[in-house]
Each structure stands twice: as C-alpha cells, then as structure tokens.
Amino acid sequence: MGFLAPWFLAGAVAVGLPIYVHLLRQYRQKPVRFSSLMFFERRTQSSIKHRRLKYLLLFALRCAFIALLALAFARPYIHSATIAKANGGRTMLFGIDNSFSMRQGDRLSRAKEEARAEIGKMREEDRGQVVTFGGPAKLVTEMTQDKGALLAAVGAIEPGDDTSSYAEISRVIRSTAESLKADVEAHIFTDDQQSSWPAAFADARLDDGTKLTVHPVADKAIPNWTVENVDAPRRVFDTKKVRTVATIAGYNTQDGTRKVTLIANGKAIESKEVKVPAGGRAAVEFLTLDVPYGLTRCEVRIDGADAFPQDDHWYFSVERADPKPALLVHGDNDSASPLYVRTALESFTDAAFTLDSQSTQQATNANVSKYAFVILSDAGPLPAKLEESLDSYVRAGGDIFVTLGRNATPGRKVPVAGLLITSLHTISPDSEPVQTATRIDNSYPAFGKGENWDGVQIFQYATVQAPEGPDTRIAARLANGLPLFIDRKVGEGHVMIFASAFDNFANNLPLQPVWLPFLEQTTHEMGGVGSARGNYKVGSYVDLRTAKERNVPVTIIGPGDKRLLSLAESAKATTFQFPSEGFFDIRRDNGREELAAVNADRRESDFTVLSADTLKSWKNTGIASRSEAGASSSRDKRDDNAELWFYALVLLAILALAESYIGNRHITAGTGKEAA
C-alpha cells in the first residue's frame, strides 16, 4: 500500500482539534458556582474520571473523520501485486503464434507442445488464459484455473495465414494486466520473426510487474524463396496487351536461378527462369495472359526447393471482358477533342473502352444507356431529346463528363447538372495572366495519383455557378478561385464538369503529361473499371455491398468450395475479412461477381530471427518498469494500482452522518438534562 499524495497526510495533525475540544477544553471547564462546598471532598478518583474522554464515541468519530479526510486526500492505493496475492496465485497468459510462418516444418506443433508443458506447471491457485496472435490477437479461453480447458484450447489451435505482431501480443498482455489489476506472467511461443517486431519499440512495451518468457521454436534464420508480388491488370480486354510482372524474392538465400510459371485456371501458360541475387529480388515479366472470358484464377509459382513451400506461389485473379463502349459528343466545330480522347483511351494498357464519337446533331437519337460513360466535349446546346436521355441515364447511375469551351453559352445551364454558366472568358496573354489549376483535391479519384498540373495553362474558361454542398464538390479551381473541376451528383449518377475544353485552343492539357493519367482515372471511375480490387492480403477486408446493393444477398465461396457466410451475414454483412490464402468467389444476387485472390503477407516469408538484444530489451520493459516503480510518476502509479480514495470518501460520508447524529443527541441531552 502506498500514497499518491503523501504530503496530505500532514493534515492528520488536525486530529488535535477534537482532542483539544474533548480533552483539554473540557478539562479547563467553566466553574459552576455552588452555595457551599462544605459537604464535598476533593478526590483523586474524581479528577481521573474528569480527565476521561467525555464523549468517547463522538471523539472517536471526529478523530476518525479528520484522519480519514487526510487519508483520502493522500490518495491511498494498493499495488496490483497485493491484489494479485490476495486473489491467490499467478496470473498467466500463454500467447501462441499461429501466423503463416508457423506453418514451416513443425513449428506450430512444437509451440503447442511447449505451451502444454508450461500449462502443466501451473499451480492450483494460478489462473491462465490462452491467446493466439497469428494476426489480430484472439482470446481462445477465459482467464481460468482449469488446466484442462487451457490444454484443450491449445490443442485446438490451427495454423493461420495472417501476420504475427509482437505489438499485438504486448497490447493484450498490457490490457490483461490493467483489467485484472495484476502482475502478468506471460509465456510467448513463437518463431521469433524479426518482421513481427513493431516499427516503434514503445508499441511492444510491457506494464510494470509483467514477467515475459519467450519460448522460441526457431533459433536461426532459414533460407526461403517466395513470390513476393504479382502486378497484373484486374481486367483483361485484349489478351495480347496484358503485362504481368512477378517479383521473386529470396530471404537469407544464396544467388540462384528459379523457374517461374504463370498458371491460369490450373493450367501453366508460360514458364521463365529468373536469376535472383543473394538475399535479393528479381522481376519476371509475362506479356500475354490468354484467359477465357469471365473470371479466371491465376497463379505465379516458383520451384522453391526450400523449407517453406507454402509461399512459393502468388494468387491473382483477372476478368476477361470486351472493351466497353463510351460516347463522346462534340460540337460540329470541334475535331480536336475526339482525337485527343480517342488516342488517350487507346493508349491505356488495359484498353478498357472503345470510343464512339458523334457530333451533337448525330447524337440526337443515340441510345446512351449502352455506353459505359458519356463525354460532352464542348457540345454546345444539346437537342432536347438527347438531354432528356442523358438526364435519365445519369439519374439511373450513369456518369457523364462535360467540358465547356467556345460553344458554351453564357446564361444557359450545364446539361443534366443544372448549373448556370454565367460567362465565358478568353484570356488575352498580353493583358492578363494565364490561368492554372490550383487547390487540387487529391482525394478525388480523377486526381488520385497526384500528378503535377503545374504545366497546364488555361486560356479560355467558363464561369459556372457551383455553390459547394452535399451534392456539389469542387475538386479543382483556377488560380483566380473559380471552379475548374466540378462533380455534381444527380440521382444515382454524377456529372463531372471541366470548365474548359479538351482541345489545344482553350488549354494545353491534352499536350501535357498529366493528360493521360487524368483521363485514365476519370474514365475508369466513370466506367466502373477502377473500383474493384482483385488482390487482397490475408486479414484485409472487402466491401460486400455498394449503396445500391444494400438489400442484395451476398454469397462467398472460399477455398475448398466452402460457403463462408451464414444466412444472416449473407443478408446483412457489409464487409468480410479474408481469413486465409486462396480464391474467394463473391457472388451477389444482382449478378455482380467478384473473384478475390488472397495471399499471405510476404513478411512472414522472412525467417530472420529477432536479435537476442531486442528480445532481452522486450522482456526487460516489464522488469525495468517495476524496478523504477518508486521513481515513476503518480500517473503511472495510478494506472497500475487500485486506488482506495473512493472507499475512503464513502466511509467519510458515513462518519459525517454518524457524527451529526451523535453530536446532535449530545447537544439535546446536554441542554435538556444536564445540571450545572
């Protein structure tokens, strides 16, 4: 037991006050005049009795009140160790690493064996808990004294594909110590991977009094080859234009040549040999990916010939589809923008779109619903029918891109968006500065890659009245503050407005390097190509529903053709965490299907073990803190110890009530009955 503010104990000298009131003051009482003392006698007994405390109980209450008040202010606490002792026995935590790397050899079974041995050493009064930390830490059991339950839990632990983290297990140890207010004796069974160590040492710190014992199941690094990553397009529109790049890495390996095979739907498509330097990386490029239409399970595999074959592959999925048609409507006097846009779309590696360019008049009767997106490139006033079609198209969820050039008419509204064009300004370079793009919002998908817009000069722009609000977002502005890029939500779709045109008259954007990524991101966003991911890591999440698919049931079929969602989850779950490696087929009842390829984090492939110094430092965080407990701050103490001030206050309240009652009784009795 100790005190957080011991100087307040000095207040206990105030106990002298009731002593003065009851003892000294009473002794020097006012004499009572009496007619004659002829029949009285001075007796020692009387004197002694007089010195006796007059109101023993009241005196005791008042003394206790003051002492307790001083005690409460001094903030007493009981050290957590005391509580632990009071509870009896040790508080033990058995952390078992079941991460992907523990699949190597018999690491996991050895870890479990050692855990069983440690559990067997538990005394009857000890309590323990089993935790796995091959990924997010999981409490496998309650804190229990039942050894049988702990042993059974250890036996049931399966290897996982996730990544272990010593920060995670340290957090669990800390929270256990804090919640139970006890010193924890932690036993960690792991392969001591260096890659599991957190970037900041503080993340792995342990609380005061924590005793950490690491039971390593590996004492040295083993050489390991792995497919570290595969860069492949999510969608394939032209199999001849697909570029797949695989990165082969070696950890603790000598330089050597590895055979790399590209596999699609279990069938080897192409093999290559690659020379990997010692402990380094090498890239392998496959230029064709001849896959059938639809979703295809692809894999890059190496002949690892090492002790850990589980990471000698990399799963990825591709979707073969025809390019989607896109419509570009341009003004009769605009021949530049179709050229620039078409050239850009064709230059994209995935060639996801085929461009259908039509003049405003030609597009009057166009069936816009069949297009992935529509670009109104300085189209000028639209025929009413086309505008109507576009309005329905956007409200149903389609996206259109509007550019405003010399055909923009001040006083008219931007089609579908309904925003007023107030003016069209052409800059005279001799009299005023050329406008540039400023205040670019990189969180907007069209600017997501953060390209440099500094070289873009804008000579002609339209001024659009676009008050920002929940449906209107200004993603870029001109140097003079006017909106340059506006996103207007209409119904379920969006209208994107570029306040200049895609030609070499209004600006020089199509001639700048930023043109291609800007258009690629914009068209992919509008066409829905860039929104889906194909590759995930174990433990990551996937969104199961868009806003439109709120009521659409989802089915996930995992490796081994197992359905992974319950009926309730199928109807309501919004996300899903991938638990293991493999392909996960995500099917929605509206027909949208997604094939997620999930791979283990390749940090788990690096078997470099943690240095002895780091391990020692980790263990010492709890011990060092304990030895410095005396010098640590009050805040630390408060966190780690059970404070008693609350109980002292409750007792104070009770004492105050009792003192009032008894004091009042004495006053009543004194005034009513006391002679003299």
Partner: protein
C-alpha cells in the same frame, strides 16, 4: 387554587414585597377558615372583674354604664408576643437551581411573618446578618412598622460568608423582651456550633424557630458529568464527580439535616426544614402553632 399563591415560583413574579406578603397571608388565612382547629384574629374570650392594677384601657365602659360594675373585656389573641426575624443574607443564600434563590424565599417568609404579626398587633422586628449584623429594625407595634420591616427585608442583599458566632452575640443585646425568634438561614455550619450559638437566645424565654432553607439541588444534586464547583462564599473550587454527588454528598447532607434537627430539639429550638421549591405555608403554620402554644 389558593395554594398556588403560596408557590415561590408564582410569588417571584410579584415585584412588590408587601403584595407578596399580603398574597401569602391572605391565601394562607383563607385556607385556615376551613379549619376548626386554629383560630386567628381578635376574638372575644371573656369578661373578667376589674382588680387593682389592671389596665383601664381594657375596661368595657358600656357594661359599666349598664351595670355600674367594672369589667374587663378579654380577647383570645391578646398577648404580649414579639416576633424577631433573623434573616441570613450570606452569599450562600443567593444560590438557586431555578428562579427563586434561598434569599428570595427567606424574604417571602419574613415578609409574610411580619405582615401576619402586624395583623395580630404583635411587635415585629428584623435583624439582617451575614458575618455581622447588617441591619436592625427594633420590634415595635408603632404605626408604619410594617412598612419599615418590609423595606428592610426588600433591601436585604446577599453579602459575604456566614458567621453565626459574631452576630448572634450581638443579638442577645437586642432581646429585651420575651417573644418568638425566627432564624431564616441555610445553616452551612456544624450543627453543634449552630445549636451552641443559638441556644442562648432561649434564655430570655424566647421561642426560637430555625427555618432551614435549602435548594432542592443542594439536597440532591444531579450532575451528569464531572463538574468544577466554586464556593460562592470563599471562591474555592473543587472538581466533583457525579458519582460522589449522587452517593456520598447526599448521605452527608442527610446526616447534617438529621444532626441539626436533633441538636435543635436537644437545645429546645424549633427546627423546620424548608425546600425552596415548595410552598411557604409550613413556615406560617409553624409560626401560628408556636404563637398559639405561648398563650
């Protein structure tokens, strides 16, 4: 109902001492009228033939006119009684545990007695003393004597300590005629000393009545806690435990009262204990009884 007017607590609310005396005596007499035993007033007793030496003032001249014989008219109350009141005004007499001090109580008794004496045409006098004689009003039946006595009683204030020896030596010089001597005191002195000092008063044929006035808290003090008592006469202080006050003190005061009564009886003194919380009528009753006895 009339008894209520003899209650000292009620009398304390009456500021005028003559009114107090009148209230007490009238109330007391009203009570007596219902009694067949005692008589009071100038009641006709008998006619007696004149003999030489009789006072001619008592001759009934109406009878002489009718019968030419000289007869004297005798009354029952006609005596040569003299009342002398000795009022102790020592400091201890100022003690009280309620509203009426022992001195107040003694004043009421004294006033009542002198009032009653004046009604009886008895000569009444007063000696006020503490450790010496403070005031003396010689017994007389002169007109205005009652007012002089009441004034002297009213003026009597608490003095210093009691010393019976010195004033009582002087008292004997004032007693030239036999009568009734009433001593009003709390008698904080040894019974032997009191008896020894007062006994000589009887030598002239006086009837001596000791009215022993004590506050109820003096007889049976009630202290809940140890208390520091200070003697009002000599200012000495003493710690007193409630246990002592409850046991030993009570025994001692009881013994003192018994001793005093015994010694007084042995010395031929009338002794009457008066509790100052009780009505005054025992004092008046005793006085009348003694006066009756002296006829």
């Amino acid at each position: 109902m009339l008894q209520r007017f003899l209650d000292p607590a009620v009398l304390a609310s009456i500021s005028s001492l003559d009114l107090v005396a009148k209230t007490v005596v009238d109330g007391f007499v009203a009570g007596l009228h219902r009694s067949p035993t005692f008589g009071f007033s100038q009641e006709f007793a008998e006619y007696r033939q004149y003999v030489e030496g009789d006072d001619l003032r008592h001759v009934d001249w109406n009878v002489f006119a009718r019968t030419e014989r000289i007869y004297l008219k005798r009354f029952k109350g006609e005596t040569n009684s003299q009342l002398l009141i000795l009022l102790d005004t020592s400091a201890s007499m100022t003690y009280t545990s309620s509203t009426v001090t022992k001195l107040d109580y003694a004043r009421y008794i004294a006033a009542s007695l002198v009032y009653m004496a004046s009604q009886q045409r008895d000569a009444a006098g007063l000696i006020v003393f503490d450790d010496d004689v403070k005031n003396y009003v010689a017994p007389s039946t002169r007109q205005g004597q009652l007012m002089r006595l009441l004034h002297a009683i009213e003026k009597a204030e608490g003095g210093s300590r009691t010393d019976f020896a010195k004033p009582f030596f002087h008292f004997q010089q004032f007693l030239h005629r036999r009568g009734i001597v009433v001593v009003l005191s709390d008698f904080y002195e040894e019974p032997e000393t009191i008896a020894k000092v007062i006994e000589p008063l009887r030598y002239h044929g006086n009837e001596v009545v000791l009215f022993h006035l004590l506050d109820p808290n003096e007889v049976a003090p009630k202290f809940r806690d140890p208390v520091l008592l200070q003697d009002v006469e000599d200012d000495t202080a003493m710690e007193v435990s409630p246990e002592y006050a409850r046991n030993e003190y009570r025994a001692k005061i009881k013994h003192h009262l018994t001793q005093l009564a015994d010694k007084a009886a042995a010395a031929g003194l009338e002794y009457v204990f008066m509790d100052t919380s009780k009505p005054l009528d025992p004092a008046l009753r005793n006085y009348l009884a003694i006066r009756q006895r002296r006829r």
